[in-house]
Symmetry: C2
Subunit: 406 residues, 2 copies
């Protein structure tokens, strides 16, 4: 597996674009399209929030179809809590793209991100459609990545290439989302983070769904900025088969390789989201080891990643490891604190439930000055592990989120 530069158009046969449709009050780019030149199988994972945005409902429905060829996305408006009108507007957004692309409307998926409770200006989307399509190109991946941004400060793209037999499969993607970020997505059998992944792998729809599910569990579903689950979280993947690899149609052969590559690139994208979290100055990685089950490890890591107190402490470079202990203990997972070890970076803080003999506050404080903070919790009660990502909690987060809708 190798990492290369690029984004959603790195895989063969994918084109993209992003333009200004006038949805964002700032006047920035806000309408994007990802298009596969040939029909692709697609899978999606969506927020488990009870209040689902209209595009989530429509995309879930459309994913019942066999093949798909395009995803249309707007930023600046979540199209959520807009009642029946919202659903109508999401359908219209997909239909309009389908018309211009000469596709069945169910072959188009749709996503939105932005403010909740404001009617989607569909007329602006319709008007911008010719410009959006005219500019489609392989060189427009950066425009796509830029367009989907809301409070993000930078584009987020990632590409891996992996050899399968005599073919090389490419998986590329772009994502956004640095606030209202605590996705718990399920694939369509069942984030506002949005992720769009395109691959030229040849793979069945069923296997693509399973691979996405596996990859999601240890990547996007383990990132949190503020603990607030969105109504719009969506992760899409389209696979158009143009790499010419032997078709993956069962959990054997190259399925493992494909899933591992997908999980790796999704994890790297998840870290990008956390690192750019609203107001963030540091990326925090929490690794939980020695858990009885992988699910236990995920729950403890995830719980710690949502501790406001810990995130404030790390913002202040304060070696207050007690907050890690308190948070782990509130995860609902059973473990014995008297066996628990905690490390902040290279420094052991807790040893068998009490302060480590070698704990050195100054050493931790120095470590916490860096941009990347890793915390390790060893429960010493099993062999499972998991990682979660978050960012520190700064005054800037409060500033950003006390003025968002105004």
């Amino acid at each position: 597996m190798i990492i290369v530069k690029g984004g959603v158009t790195a895989a063969k046969g994918f084109l993209a674009n992003g333009v200004k449709a006038g949805i964002k009050p700032s006047g920035r780019k806000d309408l994007a399209l990802l298009y596969s030149e040939v029909p692709a199988v697609a899978a999606g994972a969506f927020t488990t929030n009870r209040c689902k945005a209209s595009p989530v409902k429509i995309s879930r429905m459309n994913l019942n179809g066999k093949t798909h060829q395009a995803i249309i996305v707007n930023s600046g408006n979540a199209n959520c809590a807009n009642g029946k009108q919202g659903d109508t507007d999401a359908v219209e957004m997909a239909r309009c793209a389908a018309d211009f692309l000469n596709l069945d409307k169910r072959m188009v998926l749709v996503a939105s991100t932005g403010i909740i409770g404001v009617k989607l200006p569909v007329n602006k989307i319709v008007r911008a459609m010719p410009k959006l399509l005219a500019g489609l190109g392989r060189d427009k991946a950066p425009d796509f990545a830029e367009t989907i941004m809301t409070t993000d400060t930078r584009k987020k793209e990632f590409v891996v290439k992996v050899r399968m037999g005599s073919s090389v499969v490419t998986i590329g993607g772009a994502c956004k989302g640095v606030g209202m970020l605590h996705p718990e997505m399920k694939t369509v059998k069942h984030a506002t983070m949005l992720a769009f992944i395109s691959t030229d792998a040849s793979i069945s729809k069923k296997m693509l769904e399973d691979a996405l599910d596996e990859a999601m569990r240890d990547s996007f579903n383990m990132v949190s900025v503020d603990g607030d689950m969105s109504t719009n979280d969506s992760c899409f993947i389209m696979a158009n088969g143009l790499a010419g690899n032997k078709r993956i149609s069962a959990k054997e052969g190259d399925y493992g390789k494909f899933t591992a590559a997908l999980k790796f690139m999704a994890s790297e994208m998840a870290k990008m989201l956390a690192a750019d979290g609203e107001g963030a100055t540091k990326l925090i990685e929490i690794e939980v080891k020695g858990a009885k089950t992988a699910d236990d490890a995920r729950r403890v890591a995830r719980k710690i990643s949502t501790s406001n107190l810990l995130k404030c402490a790390i913002f202040g470079m304060d070696p207050n490891w007690g907050r890690i202990v308190a948070s782990a203990g509130s995860s609902g997972v059973e473990f014995n604190i008297d066996r628990m070890d905690v490390y902040i970076g290279p420094v052991k803080a807790l040893s068998n439930g009490a302060i480590a003999a070698a704990f050195n506050r100054e050493k931790v404080r120095k470590f916490l000055k860096g941009k990347n903070v890793n915390i390790t919790v060893d429960l010493k009660s099993g062999k499972s592990s998991a990682r979660a990502w978050t960012c520190d909690f700064s005054k800037e987060y409060v500033a950003i989120n006390s003025e968002y809708s105004t």
Copy 2:
């Protein structure tokens, strides 16, 4: 039921005190005692955190005894994550108070609050004991309330009187806790908030436990400042029978009256905690109505009360009601968003899942300038309701918690 001034010594036969023992680096009062002149029945509710502080373990154990007469409390040190030494120190703290008071050591309960992972300076507690006892008095309730404070900016006390037959029963209390505040306490059949309640009611230990359990569920367990559950949360109640009311020994007669009074005073204390939440500028009350069950109502209200995004919005007086919808939807409770109504203060924001026709941003903005913000969510799918309390999320919260241990 009437509300009167006072604190933990308002009920007959209770004495208290609070002194400086040198545990807090600030040099403020940090060692307090609540004492009943006659043996009392007692009940306690404690954190469900897997990592329990030593005083929680010792108090839970001691509550197996039939009667109790004293509670000793220190602030400035949580005595948590101190291994076996922590347990030994908590036992020693109780034993020392028992010796001075000439009580069996199991008749003394113990509580701690402050930093995690620092050894409790028991020698300082032993040295301060004579002074603590010498000063015990009915007039020292304010000293008690002041001593238990950590990042609290003001004392929290509340007293109600309720007539039972020809007797008047008094229930008084003090509490603290404005950060790491998201208690989920269970009574000893099973917060760092601490609450100490004293009453002269005559009531059996079993009924006292049940009453505390009922009261807790809708009061302290519905308050959250930051979503971080403490290792030390504890709520104690002692009932010494000196009011001379007909003994409450079953769920009949005055049991309901007593429980209602307890629930009322505990709710008022819970509101005091939220209003003084770290960095808080506003008290937020969230009422959820029309839920299928009381538990559903509590879960939705509680979830909304932990939304960082909503709390930031209210700090910024931003009428961003979409965040209420998103948060309610992530509670895990099933409801139909298309029937959901949301009010911010007197202004209807959401009506049947879409923006209310009469919604007026400026009106909401004006309302949000007040100190008290009430939010109502009507799920219109049942008859149950619940209330939760929190505070807004300010830059000051981050400032306080990025510098706590340093």
